[in-house]
């Protein structure tokens, strides 16, 4: 890291590190890349040899890695996967809003707001303490059974509600960390200009707080994207359940690999994007350090 300063100005290195996102070759230069490639090749060879020489490999190969199974189940699973993506996108919007409300409640000062603060704390503790699958089971089987008029009975709906409730607990904590990272002098400056507490929060504190927590927020959404598979527990046909159906028909597990590939196809770009944002944020802070 010592020579980071002179390297940062090199446009070639800059371009490469941008392309590769989180992949850093600390040797740098062509030699560094060569070493990285070679060590990766050696590592993969060792793993492949070890696995394919194992006693159970022929059976595993037949049940998991049959290309015919994987490719034939892929279209069904991809169709079912659309549901996972829909759940993800809809839940994400509600989580972003609901968690922000919880976080703001928790940051309210003074004894008057104690009940609201207490509610926010208890909520975040419960949401993060109860296993997601339990909440989904309770809501998915329980809420429709009540047969309340005007309340949806769709299991997908209630599974979505469960995911929103659970993930809002995590995301609220992320927001809170962001709010607390904004120096109190910012609020003092805003209030001294005559802005109300709410105006100061909305115009000065939250914009800075949210900017700082975008990477950890995205991290939580990577988790959410995976957890959409939990709706399968309610009997909803999502990518995971479709894979189970296909697998039961062929007595092989290739369909699971196809489902896994679909999830990874979404989460890996999200993860790289998150890395890129973190790196960009760090660069900005470094260049801004000059006058601060």
């Amino acid at each position: 890291m010592a020579s980071e300063g002179d390297r940062r100005s090199d446009p070639e290195v800059e371009r490469r590190s941008r392309l590769l996102g989180g992949f850093h070759f600390h040797g740098e230069g062509a030699r560094g890349v060569a070493i990285a490639l070679l060590s990766t090749a050696v590592f993969l060879t060792v793993v492949i040899v070890a696995v394919t020489q194992s006693a159970g490999w022929p059976e595993v190969k037949r049940t998991f890695f049959d290309w015919g199974d994987i490719s034939s189940s892929f279209p069904d699973i991809a169709r079912a996967f659309v549901l996972n993506v829909k759940i993800f996108l809809v839940c994400e919007v509600f989580i972003l809003v609901f968690a922000l409300v919880i976080a703001v409640l928790r940051s309210l000062p003074g004894p008057v707001f104690f009940p609201l603060r207490a509610f926010a704390i208890v909520y975040a503790d419960l949401a993060r303490g109860v296993p997601t699958i339990l909440v989904i089971a309770l809501l998915g089987f329980g809420a429709p059974a009540l047969q309340l008029t005007g309340v949806p009975t769709s299991r997908v709906f209630w599974a979505g509600v469960g995911l929103i409730l659970i993930y809002s607990g995590y995301v609220a904590e992320v927001y809170r960390a962001g709010i607390e990272s904004v120096h109190p002098s910012q609020e003092a400056a805003a209030r001294s200009l005559g802005l109300s507490r709410f105006q100061a929060l909305r115009r000065v504190i939250l914009p800075q707080a949210i900017r700082r927590v975008i990477p950890p927020l995205l991290n939580d959404f990577i988790g959410l994207q995976k957890d959409t598979a939990l709706v399968a527990f309610l009997g909803v046909i999502d990518a995971f359940n479709q894979a189970q159906i296909d697998s039961a028909a062929t007595f092989t597990y290739g369909a699971y690999l196809a489902a896994a590939a679909l999830f990874v196809a979404i989460t890996i770009p999200l993860a790289r994007f998150t890395d890129w944002l973190i790196a960009r944020d760090r660069r900005r802070r470094q260049t801004a350090g000059g006058f601060a």
Binding site: A188, A190, S192, L193, G194, L195, R203, F291
Partner: protein
């Protein structure tokens, strides 16, 4: 008529009594400088006037209105008082222009065009017009502090409080900020200035107050305080300042 009036103001942080009964009158168009060692209560006094810190005891009037009475609209009071901090406290996520326009737009509810015109006029007056679209961390400390002053002025306050506004600046940037304050004084702005810049205080103040341990120990014209201080504590303080080469 007195523009600002403090009577027996007390303020403690925990066990530590920072203000121990401050009485102060500031007339309209008057410039009062508060001097004294760090920790003597200068900053706390300014923060109390702006209601950023609640008083433990005592009363404060701004014009005819008692601003320490129960149920006072603190936001309405702060609209009438501008404060500038040692550490600038600009909003880092907004450009210079948006920093200055925020309060006129959101608090005074001025139309955008009017708020922008007001902001640009002030930025032009203080030589910052070319910086209107920059973010604060791209500016020098002196420029940032000038923007902070402009941001406070955009509310057209009847009183300005300046809290050691040059203490965080590199020495070569101090003058540009002091010149802005001098211009405000010449324009008739009522100001209370906490400062370590003694020659500036001597030059600009109508009255100088020496604070020690939360009390105004001595006050008078700059000449009285700097040339013939009566209190031995004031003499000691000024001797130390002279030793440090700052007067």
């Amino acid at each position: 008529m007195s523009s600002l009036e403090l009577r027996d103001v007390h303020k403690s942080f925990g066990e530590h009594e920072v203000l121990r009964g401050i009485d102060l009158d500031v007339a309209e168009h008057e410039v009062v400088c508060l001097i004294g060692a760090s920790g003597s209560g200068k900053s706390t006094l300014l923060r109390c006037v702006n209601l950023l810190e609640p008083l433990d005891a005592g009363r404060i009037w701004l014009g005819d209105e008692e601003i320490t009475r129960r149920g006072v609209d603190v936001n309405a009071v702060r609209r009438r008082i501008g404060i500038v901090f040692q550490a600038f406290n600009l909003f880092p996520h907004m450009t210079v222009l948006r920093n200055v326009m925020l309060a006129p737009r959101d608090v005074l509810k001025l139309p955008r065009a009017e708020a922008e015109a007001r902001a640009l006029e002030l930025l032009r007056r203080f030589g910052l017009e070319g910086r209107r679209d920059e973010y604060p961390d791209r500016l020098s400390g002196g420029q940032q502090q000038r923007v902070a002053i402009v941001r406070a002025l955009a509310m057209r306050p009847e009183l300005m409080l300046l809290d050691e506004v040059t203490s965080a600046l590199d020495p070569e940037l101090v003058a540009e900020v002091l010149n802005v304050i001098r211009e405000l004084a010449e324009g008739g702005m009522t100001m209370v200035i906490a400062t370590h810049e003694m020659s500036f205080a001597r030059d600009i103040a109508n009255r100088v107050c020496f604070l020690e341990h939360g009390l105004i120990l001595e006050e008078g014209s700059p000449n009285e305080i700097f040339s013939s201080p009566k209190e031995p504590r004031t003499q000691q303080f000024l001797e130390r300042i002279i030793e440090a080469g700052r007067l």
